[in-house]
Amino acid sequence: MSNKKFFTFALVLCLGLAGGASFYASSQPDGLEKVAEDVGFIETAEDNANADTPLLDYEVSGVENDRISKGLAGVIGVLGTAAVSGGLFLLIRRKSSATSK
């Protein structure tokens, strides 16, 4: 499989998972949250310092439709992560001396 095909397919898959499939994800508390509830230390949780983010709980505030709100938040997260991590890794990679184009 060519590089272009592989990375295009993978990025589309990520967008589909975060932008579409995430709507069907379980909304039950995760492992840590559940243990915190059962044991009781959930009471020490504080609101996050940036809890006023417009993307709180992976939803875009102001977008009424749940599916669109969650999907849009997922797409923003995927593109943001791709941009930041892609930039970081391209910046720190070893430049091969053999490229003589």
Partner: protein
């Protein structure tokens, strides 16, 4: 698994945060040496994929869900240094954009998932690969088992932080029992997702997989390109 603000006191969060920062610094220099023009894009893709799949919580037991952590997956795909960085980018995005995981707890979360999850996963993977045959199927199996163990390892990281600086006074043993039993179940999901993802990349682009390359390069018989 993302610790919110308030669970762990500030001195402990700051100390673990300093350890996490040291781990990131070491990983930056390690990844500088290991990443080349071919593997760097895969490292970015790995972070992106882990972000996407972390949104997909799956049910594990009555009233509980779990999601992929991705430490072992990333370590097998791009090596442990780049994996630590990939997971750290994911946690930074989640904390700053989505307020998932507390800002004061960011160092705790990076320590548990980017350092413990990745390195316990990578160590387990290397050990398993040593005893198994050098086939693609064993790489998948080794990665899946490493993924399984990496989840309770990250959970134990939280328990240690709770024991040192928890703001609540409930018994550490109770927290340990709850965290380990729940995260063994989540580890099964982690193993399944990791195994599927590694198989898919091994089937389409085995040359990109860090955990496969060292043996593949020695054993591969190359045919002349026509």
């Amino acid at each position: 698994m993302h610790i919110p603000d308030g669970f762990i006191d500030l001195p402990t969060s700051a100390t673990v945060g300093a350890l996490a920062a040291a781990g990131i610094a070491l990983s930056l220099s390690g990844a500088r040496k290991s990443l080349d023009e071919k593997s760097a894009p895969l490292a970015g893709l790995t972070a992106t994929f882990i972000f996407a799949v972390q949104m997909l919580n799956f049910p594990v037991a009555a009233g509980t869900s779990g999601h992929l952590l991705g430490g072992a997956l990333a370590a097998v795909l791009v090596g442990p240094y780049a994996a630590t960085l990939a997971l750290s980018v994911v946690l930074l995005m989640q904390a700053f954009l989505f307020a998932d995981g507390g800002l004061s707890a960011l160092g705790l979360n990076i320590f548990n998932m980017s350092l413990l999850g990745v390195w316990v996963g990578y160590g387990t993977f290397l050990l398993c690969r040593k005893v198994l045959k050098k086939t693609k199927a064993s790489v998948v199996l080794a990665a899946a088992f490493a993924a399984f163990l990496s989840v309770p390892a990250a959970a134990i990281g939280f328990v240690i932080q709770y024991a040192i600086g928890g703001n609540a006074t409930y018994s550490v043993t109770t927290v340990l029992a709850g965290m380990v039993s729940t995260h063994i179940l989540i580890g099964i999901g982690e193993a399944v997702i990791t195994g599927m993802a590694i198989s898919a990349v091994l089937a389409s682009r085995p040359d990109l997989v860090y955990g496969w390359k060292p043996t593949a390069n020695n054993l591969e018989i190359r045919k002349a390109q026509v």
